[in-house]
Symmetry: C2
Amino acid sequence: MKTQINLKEKNKSYTVYIDELDKITLKGSVAIVTNQTVGGLWLKEILGLLECDKLSIISIPDGEEYKNFETLNQILEQLFIAKLDRSSTLIALGGGVVSDITGFAASIYERGIKFINIPTTLLAQVDASVGGKTGINNKFGKNLVGAFYQPEAVYCQSKFLSTLPKREFSAGVAEAIKMAITFDKEFFNFFVQNDLKSSEEIAKVISKCVQIKADVVSKDEKERGIRAVLNYGHTFAHVIENETKYTKFLHGEAVAIGINMANHLALKLNLLSLDELNLIKQTLVKFSLPTHYKIKDCEHFYNAFFLDKKSEQSKIKFILPDGIGKFCVKDDVDKDIVMSVLEEFR
Amino acid sequence: MKTQINLKEKNKSYTVYIDELDKITLKGSVAIVTNQTVGGLWLKEILGLLECDKLSIISIPDGEEYKNFETLNQILEQLFIAKLDRSSTLIALGGGVVSDITGFAASIYERGIKFINIPTTLLAQVDASVGGKTGINNKFGKNLVGAFYQPEAVYCQSKFLSTLPKREFSAGVAEAIKMAITFDKEFFNFFVQNDLKSSEEIAKVISKCVQIKADVVSKDEKERGIRAVLNYGHTFAHVIENETKYTKFLHGEAVAIGINMANHLALKLNLLSLDELNLIKQTLVKFSLPTHYKIKDCEHFYNAFFLDKKSEQSKIKFILPDGIGKFCVKDDVDKDIVMSVLEEFR
């Protein structure tokens, strides 16, 4: 399977290949950025498929806490030592941390070199594989420094998921369910009816998510409009992740909680029925995802929304389901209503 | 006077205004990045012309040695503290260091916010004002990390040059002469016949350079082809700057020497006559520019070419004049010939 990602600038368009990786042939120098864990599991397989003039391997520490300026600088230094030039290609082999930081490094190394993404987690395959968002975290928050930079190609292999810890697999399912709720009721029912144990089912989920995201991104590459819809659940999730310093929950787990919180707000605004809210919650739980987070200080939680980069000036933009399969954007929700939802999680 | 910079992506096109700055009205938060020196001289004037909702001033240390990761990080931190968001604008008020690092910060802050450039040196006005090159230096060389990022607008004020040290003014003239030699014989003669003492003459030089560069950049935004022509003199200059650790020569001064070195190579290849070489040299000298650099170790100097980011793989691409007013690109010059030119500067 493959999906073409069409962007307004034709020369930036590229293809996402799903379970279609036979050979990668590249001219010039290539550097593969991976981490110890993924490298140990899958690097050998990739090296067997790769043909290039000169190769370097860069291994970075495994974990969201290393997606920072320091690691970025280390990658860049190793690229300079390996004398990569403008005809070179950077390959990311790993989860979202590896692809985000590698894509960003590719975008600023000598003002931009080629970038190929091989995501090895379900989350990275369904989410980070399309959209061109690259970046790093800093003490002010997540992904606050980065670039929009499109890869040359993306290869999603469902077999890579066979070595993925169950918790991380579930975290990826959360992002997939997020897309289903906001865009496609039938796709949501797929999660209600299936348990994603077979590789065919998994490939179908990846493919469907890539198509949905491709469609959104084609319309809005730089996230000025409709692309913000992909942030459903994320406004809450980012605060949770910040409060727990990215240690307690995986990103997808925080998103699952954020989806449930957003749904409680949608219920209050009569956008979602209690039955729909419960069905979504049960489906998240079925895939071993958390739906609750104990808020210590609601006022503090509320104020933290404004640190989120997606909120402009003093308005919070909530992406909410409008029934299952459709979305709406609300930027005029009274603080009282939001606070009453937060109180439910106290 | 104003010149429209047309780029392939229409929404990236912008205007360079020369001596046409009455008022800047901006929505949302604005941060001005400047240095102590320029801030002391011209910030007050700019503040009088600026209308915006919220303003921060960020002052960075003055000097090429501060165009690095550390200063970039400091700028970004201050932007986060000032809570700039995606609707905000970053204004660079200063020379090339300020505009390069500020443009780069604008490109990666929350994956890109608006950028306005107010260059205050002749060099920055004739060169850095057009092209969208932003970036920082590191221990491997100059401008090795950065992005192509276009400003919303550029304002060149010739009055800002009244406080510019004479040496820096001359350095700017070097880049202007560089463009004249490669693109426009008549424009080169303007430097032979005039001394650039009047603001009309200066405005004419800025305008002509902006037009030439705009024309080149429109054809080749990402420097894959013809844009490399603007590197005439720079292949040599970068090595000189590296060897002298950016302390002995201003960039334009190194370019003046680089032009003369390139011309000696052009003479050897029968692309330039001795009379032409001498006329260019005299003109550079007339504007108080250096044309000589004592090379200690020619082999070392030669090898340093390959660290320059514009040379791909093991070919050095020399941009040479083809008479005065035209250029050619040579990537097959024998090492012996290059070495014999370097020997002349030993």
